[in-house]
């Protein structure tokens, strides 16, 4: 899809030092996309800075985590009739030049589809700790099996979603802290969706700390496998957003 009506969703929690720059860069290289910043209960001026840039801002009343912020983004996209949603992190590690690359690969209208911008399958400008890399490799291997698609970077938060995926994730996007990226792949797979990967260059985040220390990534791995195991058996939860389309303003 090349002429898709695209919404770039930026989940942001206390990213006031980078948000304006990230918005500027996305605008610079993508003139035909709309931007939505989901201010996820920031205690700093993230929301105000984003508003000053003239983009749409939705403010969560308290911190819900990336998963909760993305679900807000998907609902917004659903009620405003967008064809594609691209998730871009607010810390500047995703190269906005690649947004169109991801959207172009959305070629399906029938089933939910997600294209993941992967930092491993392309040129390597990103550097992660050894434990984290190992964790990611194990995760990638098991999710590849599950989805029948070779995936190398399942925790990447740089993703494009088609209409069907937007509708699915508006109610089903997982809010488990840190596990959302992985679980969403499992959910999409279970819903019969298509997943593919697209190599992109990643940059070192301009600000902020990486989400995990070495010790934490072990706990993270255990938790994620629990979540993954559960997803296989889990009943689809029914959330209340059926009459969502009536609450949008356009």
């Amino acid at each position: 899809m090349t002429d898709a009506k695209t919404l770039v969703v930026i989940p942001a929690w206390n990213e006031s030092s980078s948000i304006a720059q990230v918005i500027g860069e996305i605008r610079h290289s993508n003139t035909d996309v709309d931007l939505l910043v989901v201010d996820d209960g920031s205690s700093d001026s993230t929301g105000a800075k984003a508003r000053a840039e003239g983009v749409d801002v939705v403010t969560n009343p308290f911190n819900l985590g990336v998963g909760g912020a993305m679900r807000v983004g998907f609902r917004f996209a659903l009620s405003h009739g967008y064809d594609a949603v691209v998730q871009v992190d607010a810390d500047g590690q995703h190269d906005p030049e690649s947004i169109t690359l991801l959207v172009e690969q959305l070629d399906d209208q029938v089933v939910p589809q997600m294209v993941i911008g992967s930092r491993f399958s392309g040129e390597q400008t990103y550097d992660a700790s050894r434990t984290r890399r190992l964790a990611m490799r194990i995760l990638a291997a098991s999710l590849s099996r599950m989805s029948g698609e070779r995936l190398s970077d399942v925790t990447s938060g740089f993703r494009a979603h088609n209409r069907k995926a937007i509708a699915l994730f508006a109610t089903e996007y997982p809010t488990d802290y840190l596990a959302d990226t992985v679980e969403s792949i499992a959910i999409l797979t279970r819903a019969g969706g298509k997943i593919s990967e697209c190599p992109v260059a990643m940059r070192q985040r301009t600000t902020g700390k990486p989400s995990q220390s070495r010790w934490k990534s072990l706990i993270y791995l255990v938790r994620i496998f629990l979540v993954l195991g559960l997803t296989v058996f889990r009943k689809r939860t029914v959330r209340t957003a059926e009459n969502e389309s009536t609450s949008g303003s356009s």
Binding site: T59, P61, F62, V72, F76, T237, S247, S249
Partner: protein, 117 residues
């Protein structure tokens, strides 16, 4: 009636009155109040008629009646904990959805009040 039975009876009566008062002030839901009231009544009953509890234990095959009390109490509390975890999970999920809905509603309200284009 031995001292321990009097203590048990007093505890049961205190539990009943506290639960009734909390329910009356709507601090706890009837559903939970009922559980605790039933427990308090059972404890009170066995405090007044300890020999019933003893023969019950012997009938089941427990040699030392207090052991039965311990096992039943632990299992019951475990069940209550699981039940509470379940309740918390459900509440958390609903709170999240509500927070998201509020965020989106506030956004559409802003859009109505100050049209951007």
């Amino acid at each position: 009636m031995a001292g321990v039975h009097i203590i048990a009876l007093v505890c049961a009566l205190i539990t009943i009155s506290v639960i009734v008062e909390l329910t009356r002030r709507r601090y706890i839901h009837e559903r939970f109040a009922l559980i605790w009231l039933v427990v308090a009544v059972i404890i009170g009953f066995f405090a007044v008629f300890p020999e019933v509890f003893n023969s019950l234990a012997h009938w089941i095959g427990v040699k030392n009646p207090p052991d039965l009390l311990t096992v039943v109490a632990v299992l019951f509390l475990l069940l209550v904990c699981v039940r509470l975890s379940w309740e918390i999970g459900r509440l958390q999920q609903r709170t999240e959805v509500l927070a998201e809905e509020i965020a989106l509603l506030r956004k559409s309200l802003e859009d109505v009040e100050t049209p951007t284009q």
